[in-house]
Point group: D2
């Protein structure tokens, strides 16, 4: 049988535990051999639940262990850099949940370290690229059948967010970042300018700045619009349409059956991101395990993590000022193609 | 049997002839009794084709004739004012093809005249309001089931336009005006600010500024985006989605059958506005005839014609400058609700 | 202006009145000049409502009148023959609501009379052929893109029928006849054998034999299935799919907008036949008026009326016996192509 | 970490190899430790490719080995019984690819053996039950929202079959069996009578009896129709609609994106069963591994295997005779619920 990738998990909160479950019960290629968490008792509990997992006192110790082939970073954003840099130093592949880091500077330090290594070791957790529908969107663009993309309309709707916990900034920094990612990825281009218009507010969210409209002008001229609505009630609705030179392509509905009852036909809208993207999470991690076994990384890179951070920061500035903000970005190292 | 409305048609070009055909062969309530055209021979030919139609030398003469109950204005835009004002003076109902007039000043003079009359006599030819799908869109909004509209995304795509004949300005002044109309109508609100972003151009249209993205902020805060693409090849595709507080509503596809062949299922996209809106044109005119018989007018008003003109003018300025343009509008007379 | 077709209406019940409304207020080409009804007061009331209509004591008198160019038969089925034969004798075009007659023998007498005339003067009211979706279905078959039709699945669902008034036989004789008509028309073939399976009953209809499944084997071998369900609650749902040698084509949903609310997206199903087929009724009559003005008839013929009657009779026998019934039909006169 | 289920695979042909790939590279819970095949060199090659797999000379030896916790039967149908009975005798869980066995008698012998054991150890490979869309179909029925099912229309279309290799009988015995399975499963009922109508043939398949229409009357009265078309060209199209007392539910299309190009919008139809059901295969086996680890079995049972065989045999007789065939079946042991 093929050997399993021995994975050390840094951060055993909700998302960390979900990845441990996935690696243990769903995917074939890896096994979790080590965990660490600033809350040691939580780490111990997780280790006990699954069995055969060693608990480490620090991410440094975990990374250094021979029981660890590759590192999965699920700690909170500000702690990502201090987990990633030692992993790179140890030459161990890293999967880092989004964001790569919480400042552009931290992102650039990580990029510098990886560039010095001369090969990619980092995959960042922008999982939409692993969704079959987004993959088909990109494949259709690349097939050339619709010609050059000229506009992209992205819609990101959540049924609800928790009052008080979800803040104005999160609509850009936590929610729209996924749209920023897929816009860059689908178009193969960087954002040149961003504008965010906050108009009439949804009374459901009280004082929350919701919805917002993001407008991104890409370097190549393609214009992308993003609707972010986070209290729309009816479900988690992710849509996207590319309008190109001689055609368009857009995400389909994701319902499996059509019901006819009452006075209409209907199809289900997913309740939340879990229902919509559960397979993309599985596929993302399977892909990482495969690449990590080969000693490398594929999927969203540290550069993507950085670029998204830059656009997100500009988006926040744009939302606050009501004015377009030009994007200034470091030069892209050759490593990132 | 009920009496027919006796209609005088000013302008017997393509659209005028189409309305004459409609009144004669399709609709029950009216009959064309009089025509006039700056090209008299064209008017005569049309009169001969149908029979029983009197040809007049001038719009003034036609309007004054007892053979004319109501006036249908199909001349070119700059000539509309000189046809409408005498009709108002004669107290005869008017259907005027869009635009109401080609300058805001002319629009205001028409409005003044109608306000002085103290009752509406003018319907302007923004026919989308008579389309069943748009009507259902509006009815759904008004039902309250989705709450207050917060965003509107409108898409206006033409398969192709004639190179050289279709100019940059027409994308706003001839094409986007329909979206401006339905945006105002669906939202029951006026535009406060407009921005037009022209990004990467469709190589099909050579140097044409195409596509463009219009962004309208309404007085009430709702934000509307409009994609206008006029050389997209695959068809005439009119789409619109209202995103509201607790739901959305959008135009369906208009295909009648689904074909499965090759490697896919498919449905037809209309080839052009005729295929998509032919029934709306019939219904628009039937509605006008009905109201005219009662001596009044319903549907898009002279105020709508003026407001659309103001926004269109601002849109052109916005497109040329690349900057948002604030909309300044006269006060709305009580006559227009 | 073009002359109107002067129409005499025999039978001023619900459907007769609806046609009078249509001719008077919707369509351009005709005018109702005469009515008659076994209930004379009803005929008088209708005449008074519209004005300018002469009331006749008998269908014979109406048919004979110079005020009548063409005859619209809306009396009850058993009275159709006695209205149609004199009209044929007078050489006046006839539109006859379905059924053509209530016995095969009566149908054949009508056919004989028309054949003797040597030209078609009768159109029977099977209006589905004028529905745009069915027309597209037929056009797709005839385009050859899917090859020869091999199977047809037709679905005919009513939201509800009136308990006690709607009987077991009506599911075949009043409801399934429309499916029999379109099956013959779409496939250009006659039915060779019919079977009707009545299985588990819908408890909503108490003891009503509902739903039923009709199975028709055509002379050319194509197999058609028909689901008739008349108390399904959610709406009036008409579906049809042709499965052919290299593809399929089916009727689309007829909704105009898509709503997202609750936890799903949804589109309206028509409430009843009026909502679904109103335009087909308009088009059917407009087409008849056009042909009648030329002194002829198009659309569903007397032969169609006869053939449907034969299959319907066999269907009733099949439903009662639970066994397949072979269809025996007279030879088709050359007049009917 | 959790222990893996040690799986011995009997039959290393195409489907056996696909399951080995699945267990090794996709799923988390099992590992292939043993293989056997009548073609020993093929078994050896497979073992070598994957590593760590022991090759056995016979299924008996494989089943007896301590290296085997559970048995996956992928040999050809006639050999299933001789693999299953020893596995039952050894108390080892079995996954058996369809069919359970090729005669009713063999199926009953297997059932007897399992009944004697007093617990289910066998899962049969009818994988549609693991498809999300079919699962949603069943869940909707069970929710009660549409009331009691009254009719079911199932459509099973293949793009093409190999001329000469695919015979008339296979349309029932290899293809329609899946529809027989889901019909029984969705309706929770057994088939009482089956009829198979073969009408006009698809010229693509030359002399092949294709398409065919199966009609199954269930004991409870629900009527199911099945279209099987195996040379339809455009794709692998699996459809199903339940028509119930107050509503319907049907399988959706499975496309991920909608393309607009040419003159239409379109969505992909799967090319083959792999594209359509790949996840159902994964889920089916994951489910079996989970149950086998607990020493039992879930999913389609030996009884299902038997019942499908009985209906399939009757279907063949019905197809040959052109007459309905009543189903006679053994009594269902309590073990199967």
């Amino acid at each position: 049988m093929t050997d399993k990738l021995k994975i050390g998990v840094i951060g055993t909160g909700m998302i960390g535990q979900d990845h441990i479950r996935r690696i243990t019960h769903v995917l074939a290629g890896g096994e979790v051999t080590a965990v660490t968490d600033t809350d040691r008792s939580r780490a111990q509990e997780v280790a006990k639940t699954y069995g055969g997992i060693e608990v480490f006192d620090s991410s440094d110790a975990l990374i250094a262990s021979d029981a660890v082939d590759a590192v999965l970073v699920c700690s909170w954003g500000p702690a990502h850099e201090e987990a990633i840099l030692p992993a790179l130093a140890a030459g161990k592949p890293v999967f880092c949940e989004k964001p790569l880091a919480t400042t552009q500077e931290a992102c650039l330090r990580i990029i510098d370290a990886e560039v010095k290594l001369g090969k990619r070791l980092i995959q960042v957790g922008y999982m939409r690229r692993y969704d079959r529908a987004y993959a088909d969107l990109k494949a259709t663009i690349e097939s050339g059948v619709i010609g050059e993309p000229l506009m992209f309309h992205s819609v990101h709707r959540n049924a609800s967010v928790r009052e008080g916990l979800y803040t104005d900034d999160m609509a850009v920094a936590d929610t729209m970042v996924h749209d920023i990612d897929v816009t860059r990825w689908l178009l193969g281009d960087e954002v040149a300018r961003i504008q965010v218009i906050a108009g009439k507010r949804n009374s459901v969210g009280k004082n929350l700045r919701d919805p917002i409209l993001g407008i991104m002008e890409m370097r190549g001229g393609t214009v992308a619009t993003v609707e972010v609505s986070v209290n729309i009630g009816y479900g988690y609705d992710i849509r996207g349409e590319i309008s190109a030179e001689k055609g368009t392509v857009e995400l389909s509905e994701s319902n499996n059956v059509v019901l006819k009852a009452g006075d209409s036909f209907s199809g289900r809208v997913p309740a939340d991101w879990r229902e919509r993207f559960i397979e993309a999470y599985d596929k993302e991690l399977a892909d990482w395990i495969e690449a990590a076994k080969q000693g490398g990384a594929s999927g969203p890179s540290a550069w993507d993590g950085y670029a998204i951070q830059v656009v997100s920061d500009a988006g926040l500035k744009a939302a606050d000022s009501g004015k377009p903000v030009d994007i200034e970005m470091a030069d892209k190292p050759a490593l990132y193609g």
